[in-house]
């Protein structure tokens, strides 16, 4: 997970112009995460983001259509990258239980060390009603479905207990991840806090989803 920086795809600039351009967009997004996390979406003035990014107010509108669009772009640049990373990692893992553990580890691990981003994802994104209802909802649904599918596979193979709704389980897991991240981001946000939480949450969830005959598949040996 060490290589899993959330901004690994910054385009390699060759021409000076591309450098400046790419630079500005990235600087604005980085500044937006910081300022939004600190003051909230609505309380943040566009001019504050501009100042934090070291650009003029108008420059922001060369890269983003509006303040709302800036939040959407933040979502796309960060959250979708996170989701894409998850999707690329999961196939490497065998077994539903192990996949769920990996989901938990990755989601919490990726946000560890990015407190501002964690706050943006768990709190700020929800402050734009428009973003929530029009844009983000389908993404969340897709993510929930992906988790539910893993659970359903585990149930089919007998690896997980079959008496729980996969979708309920998915929403519970996602909610737990979200709640843990939010309280961490809004609270002390101690180093290693999320990684430790990941291990414990995995224990809780995998035990809770284990077959009822007593054989517990925690994904770590018997």
């Amino acid at each position: 997970m060490s290589e899993s920086s959330l901004s690994p795809r910054r385009p390699r600039r060759s021409s000076p112009r591309a450098a400046r351009t790419g630079d500005k967009r990235v600087r604005i997004l980085d500044a937006a995460v910081r300022v939004f996390a600190k003051k909230g979406f609505h309380a943040t003035r566009v001019s504050e983001v501009a100042k934090a990014a070291g650009v003029a107010d108008g420059t922001i509108y060369l890269y983003f259509k509006s303040k709302d669009e800036l939040l959407v772009s933040l979502f796309e640049d960060r959250v979708e990258r996170l989701l894409a990373f998850l999707h690329s990692e999961l196939p490497r893992v065998t077994g539903a239980a192990e996949k769920l553990r990996r989901i938990i580890e990755l989601q919490l691990g990726l946000l560890e060390g990015e407190r501002d981003l964690a706050e943006v994802v768990t709190v700020i994104l929800r402050q734009s009603t428009k973003l929530m209802k029009e844009y983000a909802a389908p993404k969340f649904t897709a993510y929930l479905d992906a988790i539910a599918r893993v659970v359903a596979e585990g149930q089919a193979s007998g690896e997980l207990r079959g008496d729980l709704s996969p979708h309920l389980a998915a929403r519970a897991i996602f909610g737990a991840l979200d709640g843990i991240t939010m309280t961490w981001a809004l609270g002390k946000a101690d180093r290693g806090g999320l990684v430790r939480a990941a291990g414990q949450l995995a224990e809780l969830v995998l035990r809770g989803l284990a077959p009822l005959d007593g054989a517990v598949a925690t994904g770590r040996g018997a």
Copy 2:
């Protein structure tokens, strides 16, 4: 739970005037829940709440100091009542597992049938950065602590497994409840959906927290 209306303690006024007064305050809060749920906190105009409540714009300021204060009052009137209800119910229950089950049932059961309130609690409240950081955070902390205490008691008595942090467990449970409620409120919000979810979530959580020796204490018989 039939008596668990979220507004059972409205003091019965005797004089007509007092009655009208209380009436207006209640009408405004009810209208606020509806309008906030529909449009979000920031996109809602005070005049819209006034219109929905059937009062003049200025009247709202006779009962609430500001728009933010209206949201705070909503929180106090609804969420705190919910929490208080939980606290009054829990002592009637014996055993940590059974208490956790009851918490899950109550929180989800109380919001079933109050979709707008569910959306306000899970989404709208977070749209006011001020409310989140200055007011609600300590309440959430208190609630998390209450849950954590139940878990810790269960661990002490051997009723629950002792290798998980009570606070982590509490945050996971709260997050799961929150996530389930949010997706329900933002989605179909089918009748009975939350009650069914409560049973399944209890199964998942209690199994996940059961002692590791295989003896599962679901709180329902052995």
Copy 3:
């Protein structure tokens, strides 16, 4: 023409509230004429109109949807009243030549003493491309048609020469009125200037439109 004030229909206020309301709308329109005439439409700030009217900026938006709408309302309140007055006066006059003379006298007479309004009508109204193309054009067309109809009637009765297009004559007359008004308003705007101009323009136009046999019908005796 002495009674022909351009604002005679200010609604008689009975209730105090209506009084304030009517007052504000009228004050804003009066202020708008003054400020628009002085600085032009685009160079005028809404706040300047508000200040000149002695109201708050926001108050303007209680009476007018936008700055453009304010100009449209000015048009309706003033120009249309002028046109309506013309239409009510013309039937009292007999003979095409005399009607044309009356049109010229009324249009110039009504603006005499209202220099700001004259400037608004001849210059400012044309500064809003939107107003010109979407709103005012049909009004001007209707006015031109009315003049052309008078000319056509005179031609049919033999009172006016028949070899000129009524529409061309109408456009020429209107243009002359407009040009005279504009140069008067932008220039010295001397007292009586427009009234004197009216007499001379009538002489010029009526002679120009007289039958070619040498009998000149100036509308004032032989």
Copy 4:
């Protein structure tokens, strides 16, 4: 009038570079006429003119000091050329009546086929309050004076009736020309419309200005 192109004095450049330079200035002015006529002065963005001219935004500022200055230059390049042409043509004509007829024919004839320019002259130029008050007013005055001088000469020689103010007559003639051009430009702008109008307007005006004894000097034969 065939040689009366409105841009006949563009100096023929010899060196390619100078050619390109002159080219750009001309292309920008041509583009400005088109775009201004279509959208109005204020609604037109400098970048739109640049795009229509096929140059970069900044290039416009190599040839014109500002957007206002661009309009002024348009005026100078087109309107003044028109006026200069008039002045060079008039001396070739003998007699006040014939000179007035020529003025009318030239002004309308030159704009026939240049609808966009006609709209710019009659509408757009007035949208810049600054241009109107600071720059164009004296030019118009000079033009009006020139016409008035022709009328006065005709009055002195007995060719025109002496009872009308030369300045009033000039303003009426100019207004009629302006009004006819404007309605033509904003309306159908039919081919030949202005040329036909010229003939009729000349008839109207010259008859209107003819000596009162019945001898009509239309400038065409007796």
